[in-house]
């Protein structure tokens, strides 16, 4: 009972937002009378196609890794020291069944869905898929138990991941332009991955909805939606700079270099979308179109970031300006003025930056 509170309860509570989102995608987006056929189609899709099945297995493996990391993190926490004196003394069958119960309770959502998939695949005579899923899930259930056992037998040791990270720290120095990316990966991974998931869906939807032949303006409108999904990440960038990177203003860096750092940072932030766009559109969109996707996206995000150097720009006012800029961009795209839009955004962004950077002061409410 106590263990289920420590591990299971806190795991589901901590990841409630993600579970809610997944639940919504699985059960909320289709009408109730189509729910069964929707899931049957989905399951038949991956049990009858090797590539799709590999993708699903990868998803389950990622979820399993999340469960394992959560348990290891809980065991490494200072307040969990007592667990070594309790769980650590268990032996034999009792030890393994305890670890199994804990891990099983965390991994249960994936097991439930895979059980349904096995039944349907068995019924459809997809024996290969049945065997693959069963063996895969057995591995997912058994392998982590050895990881936990090793951890509990070696209290206080640094994990392989931490040791690997420390080695990397010795080899590489993090560049200034990448600080916000690191921040997102360390402290904003949830919002980052949700944003990337949403933008992936937008790109797929845009390409699927586009009537043939390929229409650049249609793709650019989809791209505006992709950028719109990044507005919160851009807004949080200011907060990161204000609260954790206030020392950067005392570095003797010319304005153009600071501006270039922002450009590069946003280029890397948007890199997954650019790669995905190339994969989806390389047959129809030429290099100039790809360059336009990149230039427009980076310019727009940088311009939004620069807007935040104006005093008194709270979240409401920021979103208002974002929407205004989207509308202006939309009309310019419809009028075939793509490159004028890119140049306009760049000129505007750099002008705001050069006029406002040294005059900017974080909002009092933010720094207090």
């Amino acid at each position: 009972m106590a263990l289920s509170k420590i591990f299971t309860g806190s795991f589901y509570a901590k990841n409630a937002a993600i579970f809610f989102l997944v639940f919504y995608f699985f059960f909320g987006i289709v009408p109730g009378n189509m729910l069964l056929s929707y899931h049957l189609t989905l399951i038949r899709g991956f049990t009858g196609n090797v590539d799709f099945l590999c993708l699903v297995l990868l998803g389950w493996a990622v979820y399993n890794a999340k469960c394992v990391l959560f348990i290891l993190k809980t065991l490494s926490a200072r307040e969990s020291l007592y667990l070594y004196a309790t769980l650590g003394v268990l032996e034999g069958r009792e030890k393994w069944s305890t670890w199994f119960r804990i891990h099983f309770s965390l991994y249960l959502p994936a097991l439930t869905y895979s059980a349904a998939a096995v039944c349907i695949a068995w019924n459809d005579k997809h024996i290969g898929a049945v065997v693959t899923i069963v063996l895969f899930q057995l591995l997912m259930l058994i392998l982590p138990l050895f990881v936990y056992d090793r951890k509990i037998k070696n209290p206080g040791t640094t994990s392989l991941f931490i040791r690997w990270q420390q080695k990397l720290n010795r080899l590489f120095t993090k560049p200034l332009w990448a600080y916000y990316i690191y921040e997102l990966l360390n402290n904003g991974s949830r919002s980052l991955f949700i944003t990337k998931g949403v933008t992936g869906l937008i790109i797929i939807a845009t390409y699927s909805l586009m009537e043939q032949p390929y229409e650049l303006r249609f793709m650019l409108v989809g791209l505006l939606l992709v950028l719109l999904a990044h507005t919160v990440l851009v807004f949080n960038h200011r907060q990161f700079d204000d609260l954790k990177l206030s020392m950067s203003i005392q570095l003797p860096l010319p304005l153009w270099k600071r501006y270039a750092h922002t450009l590069l940072g946003y280029f890397v932030l948007l890199l997954p979308e650019f790669i995905f766009l190339v994969v989806r559109t390389y047959q129809v969109a030429g290099p100039l179109d790809q360059l336009l996707f990149i230039s427009l996206s980076v310019s727009m995000l940088v311009m939004w970031r620069m807007l935040l150097y104006f005093p008194g720009l709270d979240q409401d006012k920021y979103f208002r300006w974002v929407l205004i800029s989207i509308v202006v961009a939309l009309f310019m795209i419809l009028g075939y003025l793509y490159w004028y839009l890119v140049i306009g955004l760049q000129v505007l962004a750099f002008t705001i930056f050069s006029l406002r950077y040294y005059k900017y002061e974080p909002p009092l409410a933010e720094v207090q």
Partner: protein, 213 residues
């Protein structure tokens, strides 16, 4: 008579309509200054204004380099260490040191020696999120000694430091002042240098306090 190192003229710092600092004129010659003032008097704001880290009205210059007209050159001449330094937790001491060395330059003295002297080498490869406040303070002080500044501002440099480190910091200040001609402005509740000149933040202005220590 030598030219003043740091000049402030008609400097006003206000938050909305509330003036927190009003310095008609301040000229500081080469020396070590001890900035005094009650809690909330505006010592930290004064230091940040002097280092041009927060916007203000008026003119600030170091050796005739104007903060507003030549911000990059000005930042090469002025270093500042915060009372309670904050850095992104994922950065290591090495990352921060690398950043400062790359932008400010190597400096008057071999920094490796200072790093070893203060014992920073033991944790320099670890992310700062795992540092104690004392470790963080040591790191921020080392960063203030990078480059070739003419003025170093240290805001409460001795708080959270262990007793073994305090004399080492005093020695560093003395050495950088006498050997490399650096002017120090230090806000502290403890005297840092035996020959420091007292300044007082009083009635939103910075004035000379009576007596030399």
């Amino acid at each position: 008579m030598p030219a003043p190192v740091l000049c402030l003229k008609n400097v006003i710092k206000a938050y909305e309509d509330h003036v927190v600092l009003n310095i008609p004129e301040l000229q500081l010659d080469y020396g070590t200054y001890w900035l005094l003032g009650e809690n909330g008097a505006g010592k930290t704001t004064s230091m940040k204004v002097m280092a041009a880290l927060i916007p203000s009205q008026g003119e600030i210059s170091v050796e005739n380099v104007q903060a507003k007209q030549q911000p990059v050159q000005f930042r090469r001449l002025v270093n500042y260490a915060e009372a309670e330094p904050v850095y992104p937790g994922f950065l290591t001491g090495k990352d921060l040191l690398g950043l400062y060395l790359k932008t400010k330059g190597k400096g008057y003295r071999d920094l490796d020696q200072i790093i070893h002297l203060l014992g920073i080498h033991e944790f320099i490869h670890r992310p700062v999120s795992g540092y104690s406040s004392g470790m963080l303070k040591k790191l921020s002080l080392v960063l203030a000694f990078t480059g070739m500044p003419k003025v170093i501002l240290l805001d409460e440099p001795l708080i959270t430091l262990d007793v073994q480190t305090v004399p080492l910091i005093n020695k560093l200040v003395e050495e950088f002042h006498t050997q490399f001609g650096v002017t120090f402005i230090i806000s502290s509740h403890q005297p840092v240098s035996g020959s420091s000149i007292r300044l007082q933040v009083q009635d939103k202005n910075i004035v000379a306090a009576h007596g030399v220590i």
